[in-house]
C-alpha cells in the first residue's frame, strides 16, 4: 500500500471543495505568487504545485485567493516547514490546529513535513535544525508524527534533511532512523534527492550507499533543488541546501537512479531564492517530467483482453 492511495481514499470521506486530482507520475514546482498570471495564461494544465503551509496560515486575503485559484486547476502538495517534529519539546498545538485546518480547506494531494526542529522554548529559529539519532529521539519523533497524523486524519510524508553537523551522541544511521519511523508511525517519506547529495558530501559518504539503505519503497514524493558550496574547517567542500539556483547535474543523475528503481514518483523542483521567471522554473519541472516519463511502467494487457 502506498501513501498516495491512502490519501486519495481518505479524501473521499470528507466531501470535496476542490477536484480530486492525482499526482501520480507528475513533476511540478514550488508555487510562487508572482508566477500566478503566467501559470493561468497557459493553455495546457500539467504538473502540480507545492506550497509552504505557513504562508497560508493567515486568516484571509490574497494569499488564500492565490492558493484557491491554483488548487482549482492543479493538484497541490502541502509542505509544512515549521512543525518542529524533530524537537525535544511538545508540538505547538495552535500550529498543529492551523495545519489541520489547511489540510481540510485545501484537500492537498500530498502532505509533508521535515525531520528537523525549528522552535525551542519560545523562540522560532526559522531554520531546519538537526537532531541526534538515538532511541530516545526516535521515540519522541515517532510520537510527534503520530500526533500530526492523528490531528489531520491522514499520513504525512517525512522529508530527509540536509545536515551540516553530526552529533557525537548519535547511535543510529539516518536511514535506520527513518526506516524505524516509518515502521512505528505508518508515515510515508519525501525523498529530497538534493538533501541526500548535500548530506552525503558534508558527511563523507556515498549518496548511492545512502539510497541503498533508504527505505525507497515508502517514498511518496521526491524533491529536487539547487545547492551552493562553501568550505568546512579543513577546507573541503561543505554544501548548503540553498534552493536558489538550478538543480545540479549530479542531483539529476541521482534522481534518475531513484526513478529507475521506484518508478515515476511525484516530483517537485523547489525554488525559494533568486526566483526566475516562470518559463525558466517550468523548464526545470519539464526536465524532471521527461525523466519520470522515461520510467512509466509498461502496463501489460490482461490475457483476456487479447484477441
Amino acid at each position: 500500500m502506498n501513501a498516495i492511495t491512502r490519501i486519495g481514499d481518505s479524501l473521499r470521506t470528507d466531501g470535496f471543495r476542490f477536484p480530486a486530482f492525482s499526482v501520480t507520475g507528475l513533476a511540478g514546482t514550488s508555487f510562487k505568487h508572482q508566477h500566478l498570471p503566467a501559470i493561468q495564461a497557459q493553455a495546457r494544465r500539467h504538473g502540480f504545485f507545492e506550497v509552504h503551509a505557513e504562508n497560508y496560515m493567515g486568516a484571509g486575503g490574497p494569499a488564500h485567493r492565490a492558493l484557491e485559484r491554483i488548487r482549482t486547476d492543479y493538484p497541490v502538495s502541502l509542505h509544512g516547514v515549521c512543525m518542529s517534529i524533530g524537537g525535544p519539546q511538545a508540538l505547538d498545538l495552535a500550529h498543529l490546529a492551523r495545519f489541520r485546518s489547511l489540510v481540510r480547506r485545501y484537500e492537498p494531494a500530498l502532505v509533508s513535513e521535515h525531520l528537523a526542529w525549528s522552535t525551542h522554548g519560545t523562540t522560532y529559529f526559522n531554520d531546519l535544525l538537526p537532531l541526534p539519532y538515538t532511541q530516545a529521539t526516535l521515540s519522541r519523533v515517532a510520537d510527534h508524527i503520530d500526533e500530526v497524523q492523528t490531528a489531520i486524519g491522514r499520513p504525512i510524508l517525512l522529508e530527509n534533511p540536509s545536515t551540516y553537523v553530526a552529533f557525537r551522541a548519535s547511535t543510529m544511521l539516518e536511514t535506520d532512523f527513518v526506516r524505524a519511523l516509518v515502521r512505528r508511525t505508518g508515515c510515508g517519506l519525501l525523498l529530497d534527492v538534493n538533501n541526500v547529495f548535500v548530506s552525503a558530501t558534508n558527511h563523507g559518504y556515498s549518496p548511492l550507499d545512502y539510497l541503498d539503505a533508504f527505505p525507497l519503497e515508502h517514498v511518496g514524493e521526491i524533491h529536487l533543488a539547487g545547492h551552493t558550496e562553501q568550505a568546512d574547517d579543513e577546507g573541503d567542500p561543505l554544501l548548503i541546501d540553498s534552493h536558489d539556483r538550478p538543480v545540479a547535474q549530479r542531483v539529476w543523475n541521482l534522481f534518475e537512479i531513484v526513478v529507475r528503481r521506484q518508478g515515476p514518483l511525484p516530483t517537485i523542483v523547489e525554488r525559494d531564492g533568486s526566483i526566475p521567471e516562470w518559463p525558466a522554473l517550468q523548464a526545470e519541472a519539464m526536465a524532471a517530467q521527461a525523466i519520470l516519463d522515461r520510467h512509466v511502467p509498461i502496463i501489460r494487457e490482461p490475457a483476456h483482453a487479447v484477441r
Partner: protein, 268 residues
C-alpha cells in the same frame, strides 16, 4: 555514515540537543557546541556557523520582506545592521513570520543611528499595519445603505463593528507620503508639505488601501473602532480638531471599508 557514534546516558536532567544548539544561534559569543562534529573527527566550527548564518540571514530577510519601504529609506546595509540587532534582542516567538516585527518600530525609535530619521518608526508602523490588513480575515465591509437604514434618532447611540483588516496609525510626520513614495521602485522626491499624517489602512476586498485621514478622522475612527457610540465619537473628534467634518468622514469610512457592521442603539 555518521562518525563518532557513542551512546550517551538517557537525558534525565541533561540539557537537550536543542538546549545545546540554541544559545549560539543568535549569540556569536558562544562557541561551537562540543557535542557537534564533522565526519571522521573533522571540526564543526564552520559547520555550526552554517546554522547561525541561516538563522540570522533568514530572519533579517523576513524583516526586510515586512518592511520594504523602511529598507529603501535606510539603504540595505543600514537596514540589515539594524535588523540584526533587533532579531537578536527580539527573536520571533511564532513560526508565522508574517506576524513578526511588531516590536520593530519601537526598536527603530531607540536605535541610535536612526535618530536623524524620527519619522522612520511611523513608516514601519504603516508597513506592519499593511501586512496585518493583507492577511486579515475576509469579510464584506459595511455598505452605505446599511448605515442609511439606521433611524436618525438611533444614530447617536449606534456602535460599529470594525472590519478585521482595519488599522489606524497616527503620526506627527508625513508618514503616509513617505510610505507611498518608498513602497515601490518609483522616483523619490523631497516632501515639501511636511505635515502630520494619520494613516488609515483597510482591505475591503483583496487590495490593501492606505489613506491619509482628514483632521479629527483618526480620533473619530479610533473611538468607533473601540466601540464608542457614534455620537460620543463625533464629539471627541470635534474636540480633537475644530476642522472635523462629519459628512466627509462618514463618506470616507464607508468608501474605505473601515467597518463590517453597525448596530442601531436605543433611540435617544
Amino acid at each position: 555514515m555518521l562518525s563518532g557514534e557513542r551512546a550517551r546516558a538517557g537525558g534525565h536532567g541533561l540539557p537537550s540537543y536543542a538546549d545545546v544548539l540554541s544559545p549560539g544561534l543568535f549569540d556569536p559569543a558562544y562557541g561551537t557546541p562540543a557535542d557537534l562534529t564533522g565526519p571522521n573527527g573533522k571540526g564543526a566550527v564552520k559547520r555550526y556557523n552554517v546554522y547561525r548564518n541561516n538563522v540570522t540571514v533568514s530572519l533579517i530577510d523576513a524583516l526586510a520582506a515586512v518592511f520594504p519601504a523602511t529598507q529603501r529609506i535606510t539603504g540595505v546595509d543600514f537596514f540589515r545592521a539594524m535588523a540584526r540587532f533587533h532579531i537578536r534582542a527580539t527573536p520571533p516567538r511564532s513560526p508565522l513570520l508574517f506576524e513578526y516585527g511588531r516590536d520593530f518600530p519601537r526598536f527603530i525609535e531607540t536605535y541610535e543611528y536612526a535618530q536623524p530619521m524620527p519619522w522612520l518608526a511611523d513608516v514601519a508602523r504603516v508597513e506592519r499595519a499593511w501586512l496585518d490588513a493583507y492577511h486579515a480575515a475576509d469579510l464584506p465591509p459595511l455598505a452605505g445603505p446599511e448605515l442609511a437604514a439606521i433611524p436618525p434618532e438611533a444614530l447617536a447611540s449606534a456602535v460599529f463593528e470594525p472590519h478585521p483588516a482595519t488599522r489606524i496609525v497616527r503620526s506627527e510626520f508625513p508618514a503616509v507620503s513617505i510610505f507611498v513614495m518608498n513602497r515601490g521602485n518609483g522616483p523619490v522626491q523631497a516632501i515639501r508639505n511636511v505635515v502630520p499624517e494619520d494613516a488609515l489602512i483597510t482591505r475591503p476586498d483583496q487590495d490593501v488601501a492606505v489613506r491619509v485621514l482628514p483632521p479629527g478622522g483618526a480620533e473619530f475612527l479610533t473611538q468607533l473602532v473601540s466601540v464608542t457610540p457614534f455620537g460620543e465619537a463625533a464629539a471627541a473628534a470635534l474636540e480633537a480638531s475644530a476642522e472635523f467634518d462629519l459628512p466627509t468622514n462618514i463618506a470616507g469610512m464607508i468608501e474605505a471599508g473601515v467597518f463590517a457592521a453597525v448596530h442601531a442603539g436605543e433611540p435617544s
